[in-house]
Amino acid sequence: MERRVVVTGVGIVSPLGNNVLDTWNNMMKGLSGVGYISLFEAATFPTKIAGEVKKFDFKPWVERDPIVAHVGRNTQFAIYAAGEAYQDARLDRLEYDPKRMGIYFAAGDGGADLKNFIKSLCVAWGTNGEVIDKKVFLKNSPAIYNRYAELEQEPCMTLTHLSRLFRARGPVSNCLTACAASSQAIGEAFEMIRRGDVDIMLTGGAHSMIHPFGVAGFNLLTALTTKNEDPTRASRPFDFKRDGFVLAEGSGVLILEEMEFAKKRGAKIYGEVTGYGSTADAYRLTDSHPEGRGAIKAMELALKSAKIKPEDVGYINAHGTSTVVNDMVETLAIKKVFGDYAYKVPVSSIKSMLGHLIAAAGAVELITSLLVIEKGMIPPTINFEEKDPDCDLDYVPNKARESKVDTVLSNSFGFGGQNITLLVRKFE
């Protein structure tokens, strides 16, 4: 008999709140979490705005386990959101076999230790055309660098802390496929439970690229919006005046369980994960395939694996980044997969309110999708003011909408061409 997978716990740290409920309530009000960057002096950067996490207090975790005093911002968010999800699923009160619990995460990097990084270079300026004198650099850098700060930059470290803090001994993995990462992690976690390797998976993603190299890198690629004058209106997926995404940070964590395992212990069930599709564009590093080849195939594969028709989908949680190309190609791909029904199914992008959480985006979006099923409300695409002839679907403009939804399709497409589609459905 096929093993089925349900979601029994959720946790969020986002620009709209440091838990699931606050984030959800603020999305229902159509609020934006975007503002001026406070994490570093960004006044002269082409982009001065981002979706920062606010009033975040990690101290209780450090008091509980001093080892986490050194972790990167990404890992702080991950631990915090995982704590909420773990408690929400009541795993803290369950005696389970740690071998039967795994983690498939999508953690980004921990962020550079910028001060010491710069110092290590500034004491080693070279002569004879070399920018840096390597000998001098090597002589000084071991004393300049903090080994904990360097270690915690590695994207595996989030996993290291999560498995220890949340008692998971089973399969652990971390994928980093840009903006598709946490959706891919959830999809792979789903497959591990289906296969029978584990009964419980902690999955999701955590990321913060709101640091000087992150903003500079995206600015150089001209991927970010430069609508600095009005931060809350800068992220405008599918709107005619969209001109790039807004960088954001945070984490989304889900507890997945095998259905019988969850039922037996009387767990609260948010919904069932039923479909997963994973493809590559194999086209270009920065642009999506112009006809949405990989995106179409990912949606088709997810529908096929869930054994449902496009018409069974009641809401599409779009990738919707607010870049000119993504939103156009995603619209095209939805129309190709859904035919005439594309015009009837509501499609919205919560990136309009949160900004783009990069590796963590998909997880927060899937949690939102599950809440849509539970609460019968669809989050809006805010800042949708002017129609783009290329984007002509029902994007749930500006106001949350009451609607009974049983099945949600959620898209995540990554820089470099990874496409992931997930399907969740109401649990009967």
Binding site: F45, I67, S173
Partner: protein
């Protein structure tokens, strides 16, 4: 439904022992290491000056598109080269594949910046007194970098470039679990074929931290063998009583995994069948304070159970064998726990990292390439530099090359120092 079986049909390696899997295999059989003095940057005066550095690699031999080359860090270049070599070895013309049924799965992690490139940008962000000013960085400094700079260092780019080079439109994944990364990428590729999401996967890993940043980091993590004796090459000695850490290497390993029928239909050369995979977590944190070996046990146990074989059928353990004193001790302890003291003292154990140095994200793949060669050629290379037994280890370490070794089943381990573990079991292909 009958289980879909997965075989290894192509091997691609780039290491300090040369371009391709064959030079690596040849050197291993001759007990020859590629470790030598680091030449690509001046490190005299530094406590570590030796490494497994690749000298004869020209990325242009593998990447025709000059524009692509510009956005590839060395890690990405090595990954692309290894994938090309793997396709060649498998005698596959990528254009003849069904692109939707072929994917890529690569191990990677933080890719180090080129020091002069990033330093130029910092230097252009200094004020008159030589202090870094963020406002100057935002206004001018960052412009020193080229527009696509960020893409050069994104961890998912090895996989993305490979998917683009070979039009692989199936799943594309990048696993970032340090030294377990490539093995996990392989294990997950195995699963993807097994569950019918692809017929062919390009899988492996690449790492080049052979640069001042990488060397500094590994040095302060206290994982490197220090000291500069002339005997440096011989100082990398996993499981030996005198082991003191690892010597840094760089490289890439890529394997072609194929669904059995797909491989048979095209009359492919089959190196081995992948029959088991396991992964787990240790609750460890710092390399010098490793305490927990439970995860290593679970990883091996899971792979063996997944393979559906009894433990005594394991004829060789290709160990992670990093050479880090505690790391080797924990691996040995886990082998004893899983196999029992009697079997553990009888199954031969080989560690191959001293041939190429410690290659991090690539290491699991380079190991699997050697495991595939061992099983196909029925020869076991020596654990280089092994000389003195450590009673605390208590394993039967292969210290001399073995000709005519009847090896049918190999367990290969890749354990990350920060707690992630992966193990795989391969079986000799006997034609059925």
């Amino acid at each position: 439904m009958r289980k879909r079986r997965v075989v290894i049909t192509g091997l691609g390696a780039v290491s300090c022992l040369g371009i391709g899997a064959d030079p690596l295999w040849k050197a291993a059989l001759e007990s020859r290491s590629g470790i030598g003095p680091i030449q690509s940057f001046a490190c005299d005066g530094f406590p570590v000056q030796q490494g497994g550095e690749i000298h004869d690699f020209n990325p242009r031999d593998f990447v025709e598109n000059r524009k692509s080359l510009k956005v590839m860090s060395r890690d990405i270049q090595l990954a692309c080269a290894a994938s090309t070599l793997a396709f060649q070895d498998a005698q596959i013309v990528p254009e003849q594949l069904n692109p939707e049924r072929a994917g890529v799965s690569m191990g990677a992690g933080l890719l180090d910046n080129e020091i002069d490139e990033i330093a130029a940008c910092i230097r252009n962000s200094l004020d008159d007194t030589g202090n870094f000013q963020m406002t100057k960085f935002g206004a001018e400094g960052m412009r020193t970098l080229f527009p696509l700079w960020m893409l050069k260092y994104l961890p998912n780019m090895p996989a993305c470039h490979i998917s683009i080079m070979y039009n692989l439109q199936g799943p594309s994944n990048t696993i970032t679990t340090a030294c377990a990364a490539a093995m996990q990428a392989l294990g997950e590729a195995f699963r993807i074929i097994e569950r019918d999401d692809a017929d062919l996967m390009v899988a492996g890993g690449a790492e080049s931290r052979m640069n001042p940043f990488g060397l500094t980091r590994y040095y302060i993590f206290k994982t490197l063998v220090n000291g500069n004796s002339v005997d440096r090459q011989a100082s990398y000695r996993p499981f030996d009583k005198r082991r003191a850490g690892f010597v840094l290497g760089e490289g890439a390993g890529v394997l072609i995994l194929e669904e059995l029928e797909h491989a048979l239909k095209r009359k492919a050369k089959i190196y081995a069948e992948v029959i088991g995979y396991g992964s787990s977590a240790d609750y460890n944190y710092l390399p010098e304070s490793l305490e927990d070996s439970t995860g290593r046990e679970i990883s091996m146990d899971m792979a063996i159970r997944d393979a559906g074989i009894s433990k005594d059928k394991t004829q060789l353990i290709h160990a992670h064998g990093s050479g880090i004193p505690k790391d080797d001790l924990l691996e040995a302890r886990a082998i004893h726990k899983v196999f029992g003291d009697d079997l553990a003292s009888r199954i031969p154990v080989v560690a191959t990292k001293p041939y190429v140095g410690y290659t991090g994200f690539a290491s699991g793949a380079l190991q699997m390439i050697l495991s595939a060669k061992i099983i196909a050629d029925q020869k076991i290379p020596a654990t280089l530099n092994y000389g003195e037994d450590d009673p605390a280890i208590g394993l039967k370490v292969v210290s001399k090359p073995v000709e005519n070794a009847p090896v049918n089943v190999i367990l290969t381990n890749a354990f990350g120092i920060s707690g992630q573990n992966a193990s795989a079991v391969i079986k000799r292909w006997d034609g059925k």
